[in-house]
Each structure stands twice: as C-alpha cells, then as structure tokens.
C-alpha cells in the first residue's frame, strides 16, 4: 500500500462525502431520528390493560377487589355489566383487554372457606402482555386477600405489615423474601434498547453507506477509471473504508451523548472498551458493505440487499427478543452473528459495568468474524473481472 496515494484518495473521499447532501443527511439525521423514534417505538413494555368487570356478588369484598385493581393504575376500567354478552362484545371490539368475573357468593366463600375464585379472561393475542398483567393481578389479589384475612381473623398467626405483606407472628416458620433488581432499577425498557439501537445506527452507516458509495462509482463509470490506474487493491479498499469508519465513530459518539443525556442510559463501564469493540465491529460491518458492492449493480440493489441482510441479522441477534428464548439451533447461529455479540457487549458494558475480562468472549468472536468477513470481501473485490 502506498501511503502517498492513500492520502490523495482519502482527500477525494472526504471531499465527496462532505459535498453529498443526501449522504450527509443520512450521517447526521438518520441516526438521530433512529434514536429518538426507535428508542420509543421498540418496546415490549406493558403498562396497563383495560378491564371489563362482571361483578355478580356486589359485596364489599368484591368491590374492594375491583377498587384495588383499578386503583393500582394498571387496570383501567372499561365498563361493567351483568352479562357476559356485553363483555364479549367489548373484548371483540377491542374496548377491553381483559374481563374480570367475580362470581356470586364471593364474600361468603372467603369468610367461610377462606378461599374464593375469580375469573380473569385475557385477550391473549399478545401472550407476553397477558403474562405480565397476570402477575400484576396476582400480586394485587394476594394483598387484597391478605388484608381481608387480617380483618376477619382478629388474632392471626400472621399480622399485616405496612406494605400489605404478611409478617408472621414469631413461632411459625416463615421466609422473609427480599427481592432486588440489579441494573435498570426504574425498569425503563428504553435503557435496555438504546445500547442496541446504537449498534443498529453504526451498522447502517458502515454497511449501507460503504455499499452505496462504491456502487455509485460503479454506476458513474469512475470505478473503471480507478481500476485502470496503478492503485493497488488494498490502497483502494483502505481509502473507501477509512472515511466511513471515521463517520461511523462520530455517529457513535453522538449516539452515546444522546443516550446519556436524553435517555439517561448509565455509562457504568469503560468507554474506551466500547470504542475498541466498535472499531473491531466496524471492520466487519464495512467488510460486508464492500462485499455487497461487488454483487450489486445499482444503488437500489445495494440498498435492497443491505436492508434484507440487516433485517435478518437484526432479528436473529437478540436485540429485540432474548436469545435464550430462541430454539437451540437459532441460538447457535448467534455465535457467528456479529450484531449479537456487539449488542450483548454494549449492554453489558453500559448497563452492568462489565470489564474487558467479562466481555472477552464477545471481543474474540468479533475479531474473528470481522477478520473473516474482511478477508472474504477483499478477495472478492477484483480490479479485473473474468
């Protein structure tokens, strides 16, 4: 590689990028919009459900249950009636996500038998949401039962503590269970997603823009012109990759600033580690862009192929859904998915403060993948075809 030639080429590349309004727009605005819209859109957070009530008991106990549920803010009242017909309609018309049915003799059963059933009917199309709401309901029902029990049983074996849980009177075996959640204490889904979105950002800049850049020269005929000159392959590739690497890093910095100050994502770990990993990752991403440029004839094709590939990689990367929920064979594929490794690394370092040793496995995988991808792409890129 000749450094002097590289210098001339780099100057040309930077000039061209800075003069192309569309590309500049994509470098500056696309990441920002991605962050602001995506971070808010890609969430599975379940906040509340609209609840239709069929109360056949009309007792103070049943009313208490309903009040507790709606009072928690998680269950929004969507109407009530005595018949299931209207409740069904409400669910089918999507006015209600769930139906609560309190049978007759609810209070009587509670007093007499110390237990009584209620029916929770969910629109379970979104199974995960139904599950989350079920656990909220369970907790509220349990505290409602506890308080009821404490009231009707004046000399209890257990007494009610201030947070609604039962504190056993000494003399009976009991477990004092304390629950704690580490990382993401506010349970803000965005904090979980933003590190991953940063990866998406950087990947699009690296892969898509590299592919489009080279294909644009192909379309204009200037690529032929360059191939006829004595520039050697590695100089040419370096000249194409270095500017985009620079811009991708700049975008990463911008993204991290937004993540910190707009979304409050903690930066517990070392930023140096992040940039180190990003550099390795970028080499792979740029390599894929280079490879795409050898198979696409037009910029549209380049865009099409890039988006299709990226979509598949993103879906299978554990960015949106947990890797361990995938079938085993799919979990194996994540080993060679660079996005999966980088996302896991970002999340560990930013949210958990992971050190280099903690993420060593991911770093090694990224190095291997990037080297392989770049190698394949460079081999495929020929100045002379045929």
């Amino acid at each position: 590689m000749k450094v002097r030639t590289l210098r001339f080429l780099l100057r040309k590349e930077f000039l061209q990028i800075l003069r192309d309004r569309t590309i500049l727009g994509m470098l500056i605005f696309m990441p920002l919009i991605q962050l602001l819209v995506l971070a808010n859109a890609v969430t599975f957070e379940v906040r509340s459900a609209s609840m239709y009530v069929i109360d056949r008991d009309h007792s103070s106990a049943s009313r208490d249950v309903v009040t507790r549920l709606t009072g928690s803010g998680r269950f929004v009242p969507a109407g009530s009636s005595a018949t299931t017909r209207e409740a069904d309609d409400a669910m089918l018309e999507r006015r209600a996500d769930m139906i609560l049915v309190i049978p007759a003799n609810f209070e009587r059963d509670l007093v007499r038998d110390r237990h009584a059933p209620v029916q929770l009917i969910f629109n379970a199309e979104n199974g995960a949401a139904a599950g989350v709401m079920t656990s909220y309901a369970n907790a509220i029902l349990a505290s409602s039962a506890n308080e009821f029990g404490a009231r009707i049983n004046p000399t209890p074996v257990a007494r009610l503590s201030s947070d609604g849980s039962l504190v056993p009177v000494p003399g009976h075996p009991s477990i004092d269970l304390q629950r704690r959640g580490w990382y993401n204490v506010e349970l803000d889904y965005r904090q979980y997603m933003v590190p991953g979105i940063l990866v998406v950002l950087v990947t699009i800049v690296g892969t898509l823009l590299t592919a489009m850049n080279i294909v644009r020269e192909k379309e204009a005929g200037t690529l032929d012109q360059l191939n006829v000159t004595p520039i050697d392959r590695s100089t040419f590739i370096a000249a194409k990759l270095i500017p985009l690497w620079t811009f991708a890093m700049a975008d990463l910095i911008m993204g991290l600033i937004v993540a910190r100050f707009v979304f409050g994502v903690p930066m517990l770990g070392s930023l140096t580690l992040i940039f180190f990993a990003a550099t390795i990752y970028m080499i792979g991403a740029l390599g894929i862009g280079l490879w795409i440029s050898t198979v696409a004839e037009t910029q549209q094709q380049a865009m099409f192929v890039t988006f299709s590939l990226l979509m598949i990689y993103l879906l299978m990367s554990g960015l949106f859904t947990p890797i361990r929920a995938m079938p085993t064979w799919a979990q194996w594929t994540t080993q060679i998915n660079p996005i999966a490794h980088f996302v896991a690394l970002m999340r560990s370092v930013l949210l958990k403060g992971a050190t280099m040793r903690d993420v060593a496995q991911h770093l090694l995988a990224l190095t291997g993948i990037s080297a392989a991808v770049l190698g394949i792409a460079v081999r495929k890129y020929q100045k002379r075809s045929g």
């Binding site: 859109a41 509340s48 349970l187 979980y192």
Partner: protein
C-alpha cells in the same frame, strides 16, 4: 374502445413478462415472505425456557439444601453455580452468565425452627424489565410453595384466579406476529416495488413514452399495478401456508374476507408506491423514501412486533396514519378471533378512506406531466 382495451391487455401482458424476466427480484419476492414467516416465528419469542440461577449459600443446612433442590429439580431452572459470598455473583451477572441469584443468610434453618423470619435475598437481572420480572415471579412461586409446605403461616385467606387466555391459549408469540407479517409482505411487494419500478421508468424516460401512447393515464397506472397485485395475493397465500404448516397458526375466520381485505390493503400500498414515485426525483430517493415511509412504519409502528399499547402517547397518535396498523387489526381479528365485518367495519372503512385519499393525491401528482 376495442383497440384501447386490447392495448391495455397487451400492456399488462408486457408488464408481467417484464417482472417474470427479472428472475433475481422475482425469486426474492416469492421466497421472502416464507423466509420471513419462518424467521420471525422462530426468532421473535419472549418465553424464556430456562432461568439460570446462581446460589450463594454461606452456611448450607438442611433447609437451604431442600430449597435448592426444589430449584434444581424444576425443569424451568438451571443452577449455574454456587458461591460462598455475593462477590462471585457480580461478575457472573456482568458476563451474562446468570439471570437470578439466590442469596441465603447463615442460620437459615435455625430461623425457620425458631419462628423468626429466615432471610432470603432474590436478585434478578432486570436489564430486560419484562423477562426480569417474569423470572423473579417464577422463582417467588417456587419459594412460596416451599414455605407453604412448612405448615406455614396460619390459614391464609386466598383469592384464587382462574385464568383463561382467549384467542391464543398457547400464548405463542408466533400467533401474534403472523397476521402482521402478511401486512409487511404486502407492503414490500406493493408500495416498495411499485415505487422502485415507476421511478425507474420515470428516470429512464420511458414513462414519457407511455404517456404519449394511446393509453389513458389510468390505464397506464392500472397496467403497472395489476401484476404486483397478483403477486401480492400469491404472497398472502404462501405466507399463510408457511405459517400454518410450520407453526400451526390458527385460522378461525373467513378466508374470503381476509383476501378481500388484503386486496384492499394492497391497493393502498400500490397507491402509496405511485405517490412516492411521483414526488421523488430519482430512483435512489424513491427507494429511500419508500423504505423510510412505508417499510419502517409497517414494521415498527404498526403493532406488528411491538404492541401499540407500549408506545408513548405521541407515537400512538402517529400510528393512526400507518395503514398497516389497521390491516393488522383486521388480520388478527380474522385469524385469531374469528370475527367478521361486524367487528371490523371500522378498520375496513379507515383503509378505504386512505385508499381514496392516496389515489386522488397520486393521480393529481401525475396530471401535470400528462397535460
């Protein structure tokens, strides 16, 4: 009139042949829906099958051992390590090696015997809030049942919820996604492809040639649009087949209604594609606009993957103008709920209005070129 009709027919035939010849794109367009259905179905799942537990037991005794064996014996849990102190747990969490940590306090069994509260700390990795709380809930249930067996806390009063999960009793996420996938596939084939194809003709100048031919403008648009419409319908069928064969996604409603709705949605997509081609100045811009303006909202803001209820208020309002959002409600209604026009007329009406608006806008935009 006679000559116009045969001209139109010849034109449609020519367009179809054109598409057939582009084998690369054609293969992608036919295969992609099936690939997407299978991929989404396998990849986008929420249910964690195995919770990895790390145990910190400084002074093991019969009670801690018993409780630990509850977890070990439960197929939902997997004990990934034990330690004497909590420090080892931290690095395990950071490496992503464990989801939960059970931290017993010394003298656990003694406390149980004394009747003083035996302390147990349950630490969950809450970086993913949903799975974090789910896994903690599972563990709490195991602990609670052990506690109950100890002949525990008096005769507690209990309210017992009986759960019924309608429309998706198995709670499989794939049932949620497949109806939405049809929308995505249709958007791809209609809006995206039309935008690209039309803008390519515009750039090459062949559109001008068409416009001075004896064909009326609406006939030109129709001719360009019919092949993609047929392709779209074919895609709906293949996507449904893939979903049914591979994942056994239910289909409880009327197939006719779904096809009719798909055609309606496809027409909306096609009008969008025409409009995008009309307002952009180059192929590159058209593709970018089509992806950002149609594909992305159809994926992210339609309720396909991410529930609309999860979105912040302002984004929820934005979703009202995303056609896919309405179609997904229709598709889910037909496939999972088995309902008909009676409950879906509102969504169908919205799509129809969108179609009219877009068509008018598209035709208006093309008029100046034709005059």
């Amino acid at each position: 009139m006679e000559s116009r009709r045969s001209a139109l027919r010849a034109f449609v035939v020519k367009e179809m042949r054109h598409i057939m010849r582009d084998r690369q794109t054609l293969t992608i367009l036919l295969l992609l829906p099936m690939v997407m259905v299978v991929l989404f179905g396998f990849a986008l799942r929420d249910d964690i099958n195995q919770v990895r537990v790390a145990v910190v037991d400084p002074a093991p005794d019969y009670a801690t051992t018993a409780l630990r064996s509850r977890f070990a014996g439960n197929p939902r849990f997997e004990i990934v390590g034990t330690a004497r102190t909590i420090d080892g747990v931290e690095s395990l969490f950071r490496r992503g090696g464990a989801d939960l940590a059970l931290v017993f306090s010394p003298g656990f069994a003694r406390s149980l015997g004394d009747g003083t509260p035996a302390r147990l700390l349950l630490i969950g990795d809450a970086s993913n809030p949903n799975t974090g709380s789910a896994m903690t809930a599972y563990a709490t249930a195991v602990i609670a049942s052990y506690e109950a067996e100890l002949g525990a806390v008096g005769r507690r009063v209990r309210i017992v919820p009986e759960l019924r999960m309608r429309f998706n009793p198995t709670l499989e996420s794939v049932n949620l996604f497949v109806p939405g996938l049809i929308a995505l596939v249709l958007t791809l084939v209609t809006a995206l492809m039309t935008a690209i194809s039309l803008s390519r003709e515009k750039e090459r100048g062949t559109l001008e040639i068409l416009l001075v031919s004896p064909l009326r403008p609406w006939q030109i648009i129709l001719g360009k649009v019919v092949p993609y419409l047929l392709l779209a319908v074919a895609n709906v069928v293949t996507a449904l087949l893939a979903a049914w064969i591979v994942f056994h996604v239910p289909f409880r409603g009327s197939l006719t209604l779904l096809l009719v709705s798909s055609i309606l949605y496809s027409l909306v997509g096609l009008s969008l594609g025409v409009l995008v081609a009309a307002v952009t100045s180059s192929q590159r811009a058209a593709m970018l606009a089509a992806v950002v303006g149609t594909m992305l909202p159809s994926t992210l803001l339609s309720g396909l993957i991410f529930p609309i209820a999860s979105l912040p208020g302002w984004l929820r309002i934005v979703t009202f103008v995303v056609p896919a959002r309405w179609f997904i409600v229709i598709a889910r209604g037909i496939m999972l709920e088995g309902v008909g026009v009676r409950y879906l007329w509102r969504e169908l009406a919205v799509l129809t209005v969108m179609l009219v608006v877009l068509l008018v806008a598209a035709v208006r935009r093309f008029k100046p070129r034709l005059a």
